[in-house]
Subunit: 358 residues, 4 copies
Amino acid sequence: MFNSFGNIFRLTSFGESHGRGIGGVIDGFPSGIAIDESFVQSELDRRRPGQSILTTARKEPDKVEFLSGIFEGKSTGAPIGFIVWNQNQHSSDYENLKGVYRPSHADYTYTVKYGIRDHRGGGRSSARETISRVVGGALAKLALRQLGIDIKAYTSQVGGIKLEGNYTDYDLDLIETNDVRCPDPLKAKEMADLIKQVKGEGDTIGGTLTCVIKGCPIGLGQPVFGKLHAALGGAMLSINAAKAFEYGEGFHGLKMRGSEQNDVFYNNHGRIETHTNHSGGIQGGISNGEDIYFRVVFKPIATLLMEQETVNIDGVDTTLKARGRHDACVLPRAVPIVEAMAAMVILDYYLLDKMTQL
Amino acid sequence: MFNSFGNIFRLTSFGESHGRGIGGVIDGFPSGIAIDESFVQSELDRRRPGQSILTTARKEPDKVEFLSGIFEGKSTGAPIGFIVWNQNQHSSDYENLKGVYRPSHADYTYTVKYGIRDHRGGGRSSARETISRVVGGALAKLALRQLGIDIKAYTSQVGGIKLEGNYTDYDLDLIETNDVRCPDPLKAKEMADLIKQVKGEGDTIGGTLTCVIKGCPIGLGQPVFGKLHAALGGAMLSINAAKAFEYGEGFHGLKMRGSEQNDVFYNNHGRIETHTNHSGGIQGGISNGEDIYFRVVFKPIATLLMEQETVNIDGVDTTLKARGRHDACVLPRAVPIVEAMAAMVILDYYLLDKMTQL
Amino acid sequence: MFNSFGNIFRLTSFGESHGRGIGGVIDGFPSGIAIDESFVQSELDRRRPGQSILTTARKEPDKVEFLSGIFEGKSTGAPIGFIVWNQNQHSSDYENLKGVYRPSHADYTYTVKYGIRDHRGGGRSSARETISRVVGGALAKLALRQLGIDIKAYTSQVGGIKLEGNYTDYDLDLIETNDVRCPDPLKAKEMADLIKQVKGEGDTIGGTLTCVIKGCPIGLGQPVFGKLHAALGGAMLSINAAKAFEYGEGFHGLKMRGSEQNDVFYNNHGRIETHTNHSGGIQGGISNGEDIYFRVVFKPIATLLMEQETVNIDGVDTTLKARGRHDACVLPRAVPIVEAMAAMVILDYYLLDKMTQL
Amino acid sequence: MFNSFGNIFRLTSFGESHGRGIGGVIDGFPSGIAIDESFVQSELDRRRPGQSILTTARKEPDKVEFLSGIFEGKSTGAPIGFIVWNQNQHSSDYENLKGVYRPSHADYTYTVKYGIRDHRGGGRSSARETISRVVGGALAKLALRQLGIDIKAYTSQVGGIKLEGNYTDYDLDLIETNDVRCPDPLKAKEMADLIKQVKGEGDTIGGTLTCVIKGCPIGLGQPVFGKLHAALGGAMLSINAAKAFEYGEGFHGLKMRGSEQNDVFYNNHGRIETHTNHSGGIQGGISNGEDIYFRVVFKPIATLLMEQETVNIDGVDTTLKARGRHDACVLPRAVPIVEAMAAMVILDYYLLDKMTQL
């Protein structure tokens, strides 16, 4: 039951890094939505390995193939199956990892839990699984677009290099103009240089993403356990390498008193709005019509191209050094994944909200 | 469907701040567990208003009454219904709030979403709902105790006053020796003074909690959308006023490279362990047998005893000043709530893990 | 997870026959619905023991007490908690049953499954649990009434005494004019006589109920696993003592060929209808706007006031004879229960259908 | 959410009759089970069109292709994706149906519900979807085999030709010796002749299946809404053309009094058993260790090779006559489908039962 995501709109994902492919089934997608397959592919292209010098050199076309649920270009309300075939897996790169547990990877925990492990490329624990999320998210975006809802994420920090401003300080149209996906071109350059340097050392580095949702209707979110930010937080933390989530002022709010952090209401020409948006567009777990924004922290990728201590599957101390093609920083490719998860949550909660009143 | 929490172990909650009471139903609780009702009550007492000078003066005995599912002192596997009757609600304190939307509260979003609002004490959006969570968590703790799993949370920051060390630097047995629930008595005193000062000003202040789970078996967590930390994060973010969640190194890891943050394995006399625990006891979304630890950020409570601008339900600009009895800082009372949510997640995932192999 | 019923509209039930009471939580109920508590009570009165000479003499007022989710007479969208306190339980009647397994009851299977058993009145396995269903169903009916949907069930067979006609042959307004709840007064009399005779012999007897849903909109039902009749069937079979379910022609259709059983469409003054309704108002798992009708078979109640062989909890062969107050035929009191389950399914599916299109 | 089946073991299905193929994802399958792909294929072969003179002439190899979740011949605990590609669809056979609603099919209800319809071969409403069920069921059987649980279904009635005995009167090893899948060779011949005759007339005919589950452990089933027979009934009724479900004595029990229908317990050399099994192996919704048996009624297939009245999509009265290749009786091919659904329910409930006690 844990390879499914969502309540009404629901993505069920399958596939391993070095298996036949990564795919999924999207259930609960509204009927009658025009499916722009080239848009879905363009989202996958933003996640694709080998897209820039900053990412892994694994070359995968990652072409999505839809299997059902679409008729004459429109969703029919039937489940939408899809698959992206694996093509460029180099399982031999992992041959030396068959007998050892990579540090801070899932090798050890999977083995204990399942009693069996597909060691090739991390198997099911590989971030290649996020392909299914990007496809699901792209479809969700197509529906949200009809509702006037727009979602954008960007890299806001890599190691110590950080955007100091809030999202309102940047032109979000600049995000896709550089490989880091950062709306501040100068910082983007610094971040790219840092990633290249770290990569050259065989090491890895983390960072943060900021995500902004504009145009979200008032009323999305369920008030107790299904608060909108709880759903977004749970969704983001399910992405490989995510370590933290904050929304609105988040950690920064620790410096503020209630009188500073409260968002007072006013009547803006007939529409009730707030002067400030410390709440991040969500109050009492329910969207209030202001922009929703949040940040996600990603740790440095655990796969290092340097020697590390570990134990093997017999419990004997040993060392290992990864071979193969790996990212040194997950942030640039995580941008479309964060957007996809956000899009799926928002569409799911939009559909749920339709049932609040008869 | 959103007043239920958990997959197998499942709490369904009901009740409003100024209604008949707060209650719930716990389904999926294992049969044959001895139910120590005095322990459940002692957990509620830790959450109870009026327990110290630092909390709201609302006087509520908050006595739990079990309605089903227990026979001759043991759980039967049938659902456990319970209720805590409201007694000391002062609905008249809220009479002046009937017509206005309190800033950064759920008044406005509830009204838009539901088209109707129980304004008395925040109705369903009140943190008084967390009573049901503490009861659910207390029962979960009784089951976890049999498995040797122990959960402890403490206040690690109030405003700018912060415990600099990690949880391993403190004697967690000191947590309950002061009203703030902080294991550093000197910092606890500073925090208490700050809370009193802020309260005197009619203002409020936020902070962070740290939670530690010891003795968790290896293998809990579902690897993709149901990662253990995603479940914990979603659970914590569903608590009123929570704004952020981080586990393991979290935000702090931004300063570290992969080679510094990885936890290398070694054979500790036959048991595979890690020298460090930057991962926070979870790898690939699955517990690895090390301590699980995380932090939760709470914002300052939105109810201020000072005048604030807002609009009324007709959309006209106005001001309001809360009356009544309110906390100035949620942290001390949030400690048992965070523990309760953690306990429910761990028990639920423990039960789920039983199905991994035939 | 199995004491909850429904997807969006969801009843979670608790309570035992001889415990504190029977209650539940209704989640996902639309906001803004006027809650006519006297109607809910009148539905419970139809289920109440001791209502006529045909039913058990256990005297219970079965007064429902709402605990949350209603404000100024309307549903707020918050979960609706409720309880019916037990008052007239005679646990001593069951003292002699503590050590034996009653034939065709749940005593033995519960004991093996849970390792513990509340033997008093059947504990959780008692049909007294259906109180919670009647309350849930009564609320669902209040919502359905606004949609013009009407649900009526009646006793259509007791032992060998059977209504030969279809529901269209009877005046359903006569159902409540007799204790058996049968729209044919002559047959009702025969059925009542039979029940009394069987009761006098210390024996029990089964029968069938027919249920009709009028005014159901076109489009309810999910086409694959969630077909509307599959949901109705699963719901009915979850009622104590139910043994079979058929809808439309059901078993009778075995005598017909496709050319006889198909319902051909025609244009009835602008509305697409079918001349016949062998399909029972559901095609491809989705309501088609015609009347929905189905039948449920109930077995004779297992509790007999005569001596039966069995084994005791030590596995030793023995005999038992029930004491206490028991129904000889479940049918008359099952009518409101069947209606309640149907109402909950239809409201749930109505809400689900709102999400089909954006 | 309605293209998924099961709680823990969960099949999510996708695909249309004339789309790319029929596939699915099986989640929650225990790890470490040897996957005998040839067994899965042999189950599909039992469902395959064109397997005998009694079935549709559509020629489909229906070869299953596994996409994930299997490593070195064993299940890994990761979701198992699979697909059966469509090859022999003749969409042109349906061109004349594009504009009309076939009687007693889902054409009309789908159109109203979704606002769009894939008319080719019935689209999603086609019984070709049951391929995914057979694959899911075959995997479930592989797991159940390890537990000693065996499931067998057979055709027990076609039109008026009926097996009068109970399942214990037949040698179930004879089921697969004839095209009808009936353990009584003489009756099988009669049934086959009847099907051929009806087919020759362009008409169709219904019947019943009986299914028997042997070796089911005591304790499966959840006592209130998740009774084991309610789950089985809901599962069976979700199969295309199913109209009724009965278990144990079912309808036949109407002729019996409680004293005749009760199954008294006795100690059979240390094992508690019942002399009779009117209960069908389930008491209080929980398996009691006796054989589980039930019957499912299937209506005549709605597609007739004769002219029928109907309306077109503009609501105008018209006639239609199906072309193409169709079964005249669903029973022979429904046998593996019923077994598959039963296997999935039993495995799911087996896994659920593991959580009853800590």
